[in-house]
Symmetry: C2
Subunit: 386 residues, 2 copies
């Protein structure tokens, strides 16, 4: 059906675009420069990164989880002003990256695939090949951005909420899993680089996980602190308990009893899981701590001793309560051997075991990266609400 309106549309699209895209050099449709494709993922998992920067003196690509480019990532300038580097083969997964052009951090101007972080944005490249986190033809859930007013923090906050296949068309209540991010991340991160929605879709489609609502809140309760004055209260716990949970339980069809509620997090989010979950153990039947533990449990000679009572001292009553432990169906830790927090994880696990908690601890390969966090989600989610 070749119609004249199609013809007219194509002509007008070109016309419209010259108007809409004028302000940026790279978006100029009729520019004379080379057409740059970036990133380009080959079938063998090698990734070619490219950026047009004819006037630059040095261009690098950086990405914490991509082997070999973390420290250098120097790119080579071609005769056409396009800088290029090939990395990998890289194992299947999602990877954040950006460019550094003469000292300025630059996301890939040729890609609209991004992952928000705590205070910046990364470009994102997906290397397919791992079925459990690939985009598959299966019934799909969706991930919503939800803005709520935090009465605890006196400002608007955002969370991401995964609803499973069938939720939006159906009825009935679902169990709820709160999934927390790390210090370098934001509430968008589990959805983008973490591929949480795709992992859950695939697990549910295979019958390996129960349909559940997954709530991914924003973990940074204040401006990010590099030291400085300590907050007088645990602002995240207040926001979580007074605002996030009530908002979810009011606005979503979720069960509100302990056995249908789970919480887990990575790194900072793992510590928050313990800070929220242990004092309120009556509310959670499942706790997951990824690449984390009680922060500060391992004394470091180069740091001042923590002030005040330890985590263990603060939560004596809960730690001694046998009845509370009965309702805790899973207390699951996982940390990689190369993780800089592995000692923290081990010491935390030992502390809870000493108090007769039935702790599962997986210490496998890997470091403090999204490569293992996606796998931890894949291992943890099937164990929930069974």
């Amino acid at each position: 059906m070749k119609t004249s309106s199609t013809v007219q549309l194509a002509a007008a699209v070109a016309l419209v675009s010259t108007h809409l895209l004028l302000p940026t050099a790279h978006a100029q449709p009729r520019q004379q420069g080379p057409q740059v494709v970036s990133p380009e993922v080959a079938a063998d998992g090698r990734i070619t990164f490219r950026i047009l920067a004819p006037n630059a003196g040095e261009v690098k690509v950086g990405g914490s989880d991509i082997p070999g480019i973390g420290q250098n990532g120097l790119m080579t300038k071609g005769t056409n002003g396009v800088w290029e580097v090939i990395v990998g083969p890289v194992q299947p997964g999602a990877y954040r990256y950006n460019f550094n052009v003469d000292g300025v951090s630059v996301i890939d101007p040729r890609s609209s695939n991004v992952s928000e972080s705590n205070n910046n944005v990364w470009s994102l490249v997906h290397v397919p090949g791992a079925e459990w986190m690939d985009t598959q033809i299966v019934p799909r859930g969706s991930v919503a951005e939800v803005t709520y007013y935090s009465s605890s923090l006196k400002r608007f906050r955002r969370m991401h909420v995964y609803t499973p296949p069938g939720y939006e068309s159906g009825e009935g209540r679902f169990p709820v899993f709160y999934l927390l991010h790390g210090a370098g991340d934001c509430d968008d991160s589990w959805t983008t680089v973490g591929r949480a929605g795709f992992i859950l879709d695939n697990l549910i489609a295979a019958g390996n996980a129960r349909p559940m609502v997954v709530v991914m809140p924003a973990g940074h309760a204040g401006p990010f602190r590099f030291g400085g004055p300590r907050p007088a209260v645990d602002e995240f716990s207040q926001d979580f308990l007074n605002d996030i949970m009530p908002h979810v339980e009011k606005n979503y069809r979720v069960h509100t009893d302990r056995k249908n509620r789970a919480i887990a997090g990575l790194s900072m989010g793992g510590a928050q899981t313990l800070n929220v979950g242990v004092p309120h153990l009556d509310k959670f039947a499942y706790l997951g701590v990824y690449s984390s533990g009680v922060f500060g449990i391992v004394r470091r000679p180069d740091r001042p001793a923590p002030e005040g009572p330890s985590f263990e001292e603060q939560h004596q009553a809960v730690l001694a309560d046998a009845k509370l432990k009965e309702g805790l169906k899973l207390f699951w830790f996982a940390t990689g051997k190369d993780d800089f927090l592995v000692e923290t994880s081990r010491a935390t696990v030992e502390m809870f075991k000493k108090h007769n908690f039935d702790v599962v601890y997986n210490e496998g390969e890997g470091g403090h990266t999204w490569i293992v966090w996606r796998e931890y989600l894949k291992e943890f989610a099937p164990q929930l609400f069974q």
Copy 2:
């Protein structure tokens, strides 16, 4: 409640962050460079943009809707390597912008607020002060990212879906409004720069619009074409009719009769609204065309004559069908006087009037910008499903 775990957390957050954020220069927590804040919105609506680029020779800021910076936007370098410019006062709204550093397009490295476009990403700054599109303390809907497999296009596609306050916790069916973006945009654009979710929340809270599901699909059915070979079929219409609508009607609690279905779009999306809506007028009771019309209806001496039958000739039967017109409750056009498509809008309105359509046409101030498109949504949505 000053606890030792809070203290330990603050210390460990700093520790963790040095590990997580290493790869990018700007994210170095312990860098010696100045702390850059950007963008900074003053109470009077002036915006200060800043970027650290000590080695750059020329830095500009660009943003199509921000007065005064569209063409030049030159920034001034301070002694500390931070480039700065103050613009405005700017009227309340959301504005896309980016930097151009020695010819390289750069989003703001100090902001995680972004708006995806057709093939790139913009930084986004929100200037509050217009209550109807501000983030207000009202019952909130949510906006979900939904991935579906398009059997028409043989690939995965994404759409954004707004569900109104009460949808996620409740039951019952809602009317559905399909809202299409322009050529320079993607399915994310109405949600970010368009603030559609906030506009709907505010309208619904004030009792000025009915709760409805708003579906924002991806309009570019193929790689963006700047001329070149024309597609043999109207791929977007196929995707819309065969995949998007069925996916929504299967997965959401929406009514599926004509009087509960609306479609509107801006620019390219307005032309698509006519291309989808007119041949299938039995399916839609509300059509909205923002800053658009039948593309090519106005002959331009500098362009070749369109081939084949005109839109009017193609759709003779529908245009003549009085019974179909009876069920069309609103056929609404709006275009700004300064819009380069204003003649297209006028000619399209005249053509439909000639065929006895009851067309509403608003020709107000403004050009081909998101400034008017947000206002058109605010004016159009209250008229739906009444």
